[in-house]
């Protein structure tokens, strides 16, 4: 439990924010940033801890968003159940896709390609089939209330997404300290060596993909509740595939807080770009692309990873003093 303390502390600080900040614009910014952080944490489980870089995480985000929207709009299902169903559907999708892909032995670039193609297929299908509203998309009826998970105040949404992010942080931490996590990271480092040590690499990767899909889908379900509109470009577009991978890479792949930090940095940069150069389309993405290249070039392990490196360098000068129970900090 002691290892969960940093997470509790960060959540406590963030939870206070709506009492201090009253500007709707700022709260909106933070809600979106936290949503992206959640999507990114999902990617982080598979990509950061597992080393499998997916370029199509939109597939899970969009499935979460669409399932929750469709169930509410076309079948009158309660929003909470819809939310859970969205997560479950995406998790199932992740499990099936993972089983197919990893059992075929696809790795590296090939894996990235398959995920990209898969998200693209879903986008095209969603843009033409009636159940997803085809080209027009799905509009969720405005109907404030707890049953429909819609709220007047931004603060309510803020706390909901914060709670979800909190859960994802705990999941990441638990994975880090579990046997599954040790196996997953071994597969990331060197899959063959891991297999020789008894790690069932295909199954481990598939499980990671399932968890990863579920977390990113939660962000998608939240999107649907917050914006009340979903279409194929929003649900399955490359924008979310990119942001889901960008935030952990910038913040720190394979770390608990990486995606959160990365999301705040990325979104701040995006807002900064808009302030400087107006609302021209594409400017924020140019900056994201440039930051991606720069981070890989200069601090490949991301901001938190870079900090950990600096800290280790300093520790080496003053001598190590860790106990048996603490194999690794950070």
């Amino acid at each position: 439990m002691r290892s969960l303390f940093p997470i509790a502390a960060v959540l406590a600080v963030l939870a206070v924010v709506p009492f201090v900040v009253h500007s709707n614009v700022t709260l909106n910014f933070l809600v979106v940033a936290l949503m992206i952080a959640l999507a990114g944490q999902g990617w982080n489980i598979l990509g950061g801890y597992g080393g499998q870089y997916s370029f199509g995480h939109a597939a899970f985000f969009g499935t979460g968003a669409y399932v929750t929207a469709i169930l509410q709009v076309r079948y009158g299902v309660n929003a909470w159940f819809g939310f859970a169903a969205g997560i479950a559907a995406a998790a199932a999708l992740g499990g099936v896709l993972g089983a197919l892909v990893f059992r075929s032995g696809l790795r590296g670039s090939y894996f990235a390609l398959v995920t990209l193609a898969f998200a693209e297929v879903l986008r095209i299908i969603a843009s033409v089939t009636p159940v997803t509203g085809a080209g027009v998309g799905i509009l969720i009826q405005l109907d404030l209330g707890i049953r429909t998970l819609q709220f007047q105040s931004r603060a309510a949404f803020y706390w909901i997404i914060l709670a979800l992010v909190g859960v994802s942080l705990v999941i990441a931490r638990l994975i880090e300290r579990s046997r599954f996590g040790a196996w997953l990271m071994a597969v990331r480092e060197n899959e063959d060596a891991a297999r020789a040590l008894g790690v069932d690499a295909s199954t481990v990767k598939t499980v990671a993909m399932t968890i990863s899909a579920a977390i990113t889908a939660a962000a998608g379900c939240f999107y649907a509740q917050y914006f009340l509109f979903v279409d194929s470009g929003i649900a399955y577009g490359t924008w979310i595939s990119v942001e889901a991978l960008l935030t952990p890479i910038i913040g720190g792949v394979g770390t608990v807080f990486g995606p959160l930090l990365g999301a705040l940095v990325v979104k701040t940069l995006g807002e900064g770009a808009k302030l400087l150069a107006g609302d021209a389309p594409g400017l924020d993405l140019i900056i994201y692309g440039a930051v991606l290249v720069l981070i890989i070039w200069i601090i490949p392990r991301g901001l938190i990873g870079g900090l950990a490196n600096a800290r280790k360098l300093l520790m080496r000068r003053t001598g190590p003093a860790t106990s048996i129970g603490e194999a690794r900090h950070g």
Binding site: G51, Y53, F55, L100, V101, S104, G105, L106, G108, S109, Y110, A112, L113, V114, L116, A117, F118, E120, V121, I124, I125, S127, V128, V242, L245, I249, A280, P281, G282, L283, L285, I286, Y288, G289, A290, L292, V293, I296, W297, P300
Partner: protein
């Protein structure tokens, strides 16, 4: 629907379109064969080349078939510089990092085009765009025929380069055995950059062949390149004959499925082929085990 009068032109058109796909795929497979990475920036570079060809026509009055002689070397230089001074150093030799860096470059290029030129679609007007040649049993569009011949000329030129020049031999050496080539004194960074440059030049040539009948906007390259990915995977990563055969097959498949299924579903067909090939036989028709 199935009468030869409709099928045969559809197939032939498929072959002609396939030839352009082949050129894009060739660049991709060349880069994979030597650098062992999938160049995610390929699509964005195609979009950039299309814009370049567009502006060469609008601002300099250059017909695309003339502009190609300017754009191909220019894009070769661009590709060379990208690999030598950006992708190579930024990736620190790690494959996963290279994936991300090329993705980052793709995002930058595509959105720079979007920012500079907005998302409007542009086309150019050349007199021969809709002319056809009478082959007796069918009429074929001039630009498509020119494209087909040009692609074979390029493929031949590449073969000559690979087989008979020192650079080509160096490229083949590095593709086969990088460490050995290094030990033999070959400058691997330079070879990588030349290969990337050649791949990018292929894309520029493809753009010039496409532009008479195709449209230009920042996202076009992506659509094309996903098809090129499919071809490269189908034909075998790193295999040039694979890319050519695969491209012709896909071109025909697309033409026929467009005939039977309509525009948007035809696209899905290609992706599904893609996913199935990746799952069932990732080494493709001609490729070595990945």
């Amino acid at each position: 629907m199935l009468s030869p009068a409709i099928l045969i032109p559809a197939i032939i058109n498929g072959l002609l379109i396939g030839a352009i796909y082949a050129l894009v795929a060739l660049g991709l497979t060349l880069i994979y064969g030597v650098l062992h990475i999938i160049n995610f920036a390929h699509g964005a570079l195609l979009s950039a080349a299309l814009f370049a060809a567009f502006f060469a026509f609008r601002l300099l009055g250059l017909d695309p078939y003339v502009a190609v002689f300017l754009l191909a070397p220019a894009f070769f230089a661009l590709g060379y510089a990208l690999q030598r001074f950006l992708i190579g150093p930024a990736s620190h030799g790690d494959d996963r990092n290279m994936l991300l860096v090329t993705l980052g470059i793709a995002i930058i290029i595509e959105n720079a085009l979007l920012y500079a030129f907005r998302a409007d679609t542009r086309t150019i007007d050349v007199p021969y765009a809709f002319q056809t040649i009478d082959f007796g049993f069918t009429f074929l569009a001039v630009p498509r025929v020119v494209g087909f011949c040009a692609v074979f000329a390029v493929a031949l030129a590449l073969w000559v380069i690979m087989t008979f020049t020192d650079t080509g031999r160096a490229i083949r050496a590095v593709a086969k055995e990088k460490l050995g080539a290094q030990l033999a004194g070959i400058d691997v960074a330079h070879v990588y950059a030349v290969t990337f440059g050649l791949g990018t030049a292929c894309v520029a040539i493809a753009a010039c062949l496409l532009i008479p009948t195709y449209y230009v906007n920042p996202r076009v390259g992506d659509a094309f390149v996903l098809v090129a990915f499919t071809i490269v995977v189908l034909g075998g990563m790193g295999s040039v004959p694979g890319a050519l055969v695969g491209a012709l097959l896909i071109g025909v498949a697309e033409s026929l499925s467009g005939l039977f299924l309509g525009e948007s579903l035809g696209q899905i067909g290609i992706f599904l082929i893609f996913i199935v090939v990746l799952l069932v036989r990732p080494s493709g028709l001609f490729g070595a085990r990945a």
